[in-house]
Symmetry: D2
Subunit: 436 residues, 4 copies
């Protein structure tokens, strides 16, 4: 039933881009408090703790490894990972993430965690029992199913005992009050192009565990690129899935996202959100050992925000929120832009070539419309599009011309266009037009 929730496009913050493996409870809380105060009114609500919250000594071998091989992890007697108390002090005594989740809920926000696909290697190596079964982890763990980049887990076999293991961790997360899980190493497993979605049975097991647990935990799959060929499966069993590799603040990656959005445009709908990955805005990278400010130009940032919103991607902020500057904050408080994320819009790419791209979106119930124009070239250019050409991208009538005026969203200026919208756009920049 996961498809019955996440009916609006998920928006929130994720600890990875700034903290890597080293985020602490205090870090999470200060970001949550900032979000509650400055961003929640605009729709931002998820606070997500990313990878290796269970690991000790993270970053202590940074020069050699992002993830320490055969490192020490916090785990219960059933082989379920627990928060590392060095980083999450409130988790001691078996409390897990509950105290932190409670605080975040008290702020009116939702709480999410990163989950590595599979069962801890340590659980298998120590022959720990699976909760509610007489089977031990070595019989559930598949020793040949390992991540190519993270050393912590083994894949879970497609068996009753395997399902029980997934049930046991989802039940634990539900008991903590988790609202969102970003499951990693599952959406595009291995670099083998011939079986890039080779662990789909684990997606199904997670889906079933969530259905049983009674809590509407949003299921987000990483990393990408997801295989369009398998779109029906993602749609049936997950709420979000990454359509790209890790996305960072480089123009070629942003340009490439237009390809990905083109391919996935027919697969966005309430409860199913192809995911363009986190927004690398503001201050980034401290946990990786070299902090920096987003390398995108302001125009590129507007392009990114416009594309993510009109396509319907989830929005997950990578920035350290407490260090946001006014410019970046303004991107995150643009109501008319973020209105595209309310879960009611249909959107389509109208045209794309090497120099430009046009998207349109419409709320079929209200007739509210958007048109986005992107300058993909390295030179400024004037781009315009007949509204009728945008209308042709939708079923008859739903994007029809109606009375009312177009307004350019970024500049908040009304337009006196008749049949077309357009304007002068700087290199890598965007315009977004709106009409009620």
């Amino acid at each position: 039933m996961s498809k019955y929730f996440a009916l609006q496009t998920p928006m929130g913050w994720n600890s990875y881009d700034y903290y890597d493996t080293n985020v602490t409870e205090a870090d999470v809380l200060k970001n949550a408090e900032y979000m509650a105060k400055h961003l929640k009114p605009y729709g931002w609500e998820y606070v997500v703790v990313d990878i290796q919250w269970y690991a000790y000594n993270t970053a202590s071998m940074r020069d050699k490894f992002q993830y320490i091989p055969f490192g020490r992890n916090e785990m219960d007697e059933f082989g379920r990972l627990l928060p590392c108390p060095d980083k999450f002090p409130s988790s001691v005594g078996g409390a897990g993430f509950k105290p932190l989740a409670d605080k975040i809920h008290a702020l009116g926000l939702k709480f999410g965690i990163h989950v590595m696909r599979g069962i801890p290697r340590l659980a298998a190596h120590h022959y720990l029992p699976i909760l509610g079964t007489d089977v031990t982890a070595d019989m559930v763990a598949d020793p040949s199913s390992v991540s190519e980049w993270n050393p912590d887990m083994y894949g879970v076999r497609n068996s009753d005992a395997g399902q029980k293991y997934y049930d046991s961790i989802i039940d634990l997360y539900a008991s903590w009050g988790v609202d969102f899980i970003k499951v990693d190493d599952i959406c595009s497993t291995g670099f083998n192009p011939h079986r890039c979605y080779g662990r789909k049975h684990e997606v199904e097991m997670l889906h079933r565990a969530i259905e049983k647990c009674g809590r509407p935990i949003v299921l987000s799959l990483s990393p990408g690129p997801a295989a369009v060929e398998e779109s029906w499966h993602y749609s049936k069993f997950a709420n979000m899935w990454r359509i790209t590799d890790d996305f960072w603040d480089k123009w070629p990656d942003l340009l490439h996202m237009f390809d990905r959005c083109e391919k996935w445009q027919d697969h966005v709908r309430p409860g199913n959100w192809p995911d363009c990955d986190m927004l690398p805005l503001g201050r980034l990278g401290k946990g990786f050992g070299h902090e920096w400010t987003c390398n995108f130009t302001p125009d590129e940032q507007k392009t990114m925000m416009t594309l993510w919103c009109i396509f319907g991607s989830p929005l997950m902020l990578g920035a350290e929120l407490t260090l946001l500057d006014d410019w970046t904050l303004s991107l995150l408080q643009n109501e008319k832009l973020l209105h595209l994320e309310n879960g009611t819009f249909l959107s389509r790419q109208v045209l794309r070539n090497r120099g430009k791209c046009v998207w349109a979106a419409v709320d079929p119930k209200t007739g509210e419309r958007y048109i986005a124009l992107f300058n993909l070239s390295d030179q400024p250019q004037t781009i315009s599009i007949p509204v009728s050409e945008c209308a042709a991208a939708f079923s008859e009538g739903i994007f029809d011309a109606k009375a009312g005026e177009w307004e350019e969203v970024w500049s908040a200026t009304p337009c006196d266009f008749a049949d077309s919208v357009g304007g002068h756009i700087p290199p890598h920049g965007a315009l977004l037009f709106h009409k009620n």
Copy 2:
């Protein structure tokens, strides 16, 4: 705007499976007359003349070639292919297919033709002018773009003059009264897996030509398998596209179709019909030189009809209609089955494994529902499915339990099930349940 028509799933007859390249005007007419009398009341309406209607001496080198290399084709002074008068006598004097189309329209049916992608090689070799331009065919034809299996055409370059060529043939077809074109060598071009949809610009050109011509000509693309990765493009520019290689009456091919339908299940909607290919029922193959009767068992035939209908594939009969036996005719006159093709149903695969498959469909406006159970194994088995499991495949509520009784469609017998439907199914067989 091609997406604004073909709002019901296209159903009809195609000359290929029985006649190969050799169908004549008389053959077409007798099949059309049969259809008008026996099948039209059940929704069958298209009469489609398949490949090489323009070619002389077809089948004269049958032992060596299906398509004679460098053979003689009928063509006008602008390089547009015309019906070969040896096979279509009414076409003489420049009448083209108009007289035949008129007769078919007079029967209350629609008329379709097969179109090879591109411009005739002969047009390029003779430097013929493109209608309405001062450009000759040798500048429009791409000499490196040839079919891997048919020797008649060159691909058309993506240029203004190329568009004019496509405009000129579509205008001609519209003037004849053509309602449907099955464009070949365009959906999966070349056997190269890395560019299996390499001629998409010609699809776009055909789409634009149809938009301009003013006649709602259904655009059907062949051969398959279409690339799921490009689903957005097929959906935007075409009405039907083949999701498989040529389909014939062999069980492994039918079994494989369950794979293809699984992958394409989210892409079926009014105006957009992923196509499982023609139904090789009844008498087949005369034009290929070895006439036979459909090799599928009766149970396999029911499975085929059930899958095509609940998935929402177009139905194109390959049989010689005038030779249909009663059993086969009964498959084509089953109103409750064919009701699934009315363009209002949403359908989903509920589950599939090696032994069985379940699909469900619902009309979200009326709540009318179907559940199909398939026995994919070689042994008889009893299969049943909780209705709630089918309901879970759809958005909340639209497949909910309501009052009323389930009926098994093939046997036309009411069922006294409570929460499940099911029954005993022979090997390769199917049951189809319906509830208003």
Copy 3:
């Protein structure tokens, strides 16, 4: 320098096809004794103990696993696997395979063992030291480099400490008197066609360790198919490499070997032996739980032996030797056939099509020649080939007609051919002609 030994094509026996993981010291010895008595005079000399000689309780979970996940293995304090004393009693007290090797050497034979690529997982999990270093196994083991089918090892990183690990095991094997190692999971790693030889640095490390150890240990790589694209690398660093998947007694697999031999024909030379895999003759499969007699017909067995020999593949018997029948034994005692394996012949495929295949071989120093004719079809046929056509496959002159008579090897009958050789061949059968 591994290329300076294995100058004759290796011939011997391997425990896998009959014993799987369960061969014991007694089993090995009785096969060695048989070989010394009946086969050694014909060139057979290697006795190879195959997979999991270090593992306890092998076959105890036969219904679920060929290799028990997270099972118990015998290992020294430096993470080096030792023979399991349950199966190899003479290995107790740190003796390792030395006592067994000594006995085999005393029979005038050579001793080989199977080696899984990498370092034991248990060594990494227990942070054992690498001999001669201050590094522990967890820093040498690559947690993402695992076999897709065997759970025992991790790949070794390309580092100085990694080289030390490989040095430490090769030194141990040399101290035992090992003459041959069949290293597994290294020749075609992973099923990913884009990096099928992805662990070549471990081949290089093994090669360097052998060079340093001072003992001419033959380096054999498994499994296949090796990538022809990497032929230079196999040739430079190894003595044998598998050119196919595991080979068993099925005709399609034997037929497919003609493809593989065609591709590898230019890569056979003293010290470098592309390997067609073990000969599944005689009694097989006891260790797998279902003992059987070779499924090849006598003609197919002759075809196999003829192809392996004229191509120049190593010959490794899979049969339980003590159960050999007279017919099978006669294949292994055919001197004129086995003479092809003496390391002096150049061989080439002369022609191949669906129905037949011809190979020729010549000793460029002596002019001694062979011609093999294979009937690949399912019908008997007469096949002949002009000797001049065979000669054309070699550099000028070396296969020239000389005085002397041709003899058919399998029937040991002289031929009165003039310019051609040939004869009637049963389906799947072979003739082999020889001339001094």
Copy 4:
């Protein structure tokens, strides 16, 4: 028997890099005369006329097409292409290339031509007879086998009549006195990685035609990259085959050649020469409309010459010879360098990593040796190699230390090394050491 000639590595000049499709008889002759005078003493002997010598109006549509689609070609009544008399005036009256070949032979040189795989499209379109048969070209031409980049030809079917066509053109070339054919669109056909050597039957047909014609015409295959997987086939049927795409004067392409040479190093032998493509030295590109001087630095030019020679690639000059400067000429007159091309050396890559590469070569009969050191990095560095490490790349003994002194070839300075050779090398530069 093509393997019995081309026993020395072919060296010569090719018209393409400077003239593209537009070379004339006068151009060819002035280059031949220059070669006879300045280069012939150093081993240069082939003069090769490259693509479209049969075509009229070449370069007249340069802005749109390199090869004019459906252009006019000179051809005889049997569909055999003849030199275009506009460019080769001596060919008139059916003389073909004989007068030009005679002049080149009179200079003591050899004459070569470019040949597009297949039969002219015009021959098929005009149903011309195949010489010596009652079959017409339309039955020999395969209409689906076309080049992806040149519009002139159709592939030839694998039939007796197809063989007769190839016999007829090779007989014609032999009658003209052609010594070398560079057959194009045959070595790597199509961009499809799954059948990149899909026209191998045409290679076999050409080989057979050459065998029959009685003239030792060197068979060179283009374009590349040839598939290493098919090395046995190239070796059996051709004398040279391109191992790369078209090579031009860009450092990344030169760097990439080290990859290619590594892979092909075991396939170089008399009569079989993997081909690194033409040397883009001196003045280039006039026929393409933008003449320039080789973009390689002097060090890069030395690296190119050193690699081509020690690997054993054919050397085909792309420069306009009459415009050679002294520096470039000195590269082509270095006797000690070019001595590597005499067909007696065995060579091996000794090591390669990102920064450097070492090759060694030895004449096994005389013991004469070379060692080449390449600086692949962008910084100067000192590189040295123990001679024993080079020796280990060969069979035992053949590269052993012997008395005598090493000399650096480019600087012609003796070295006083003991066990190693080496020196300081500029970025992208090379040293070449020689010892008798």
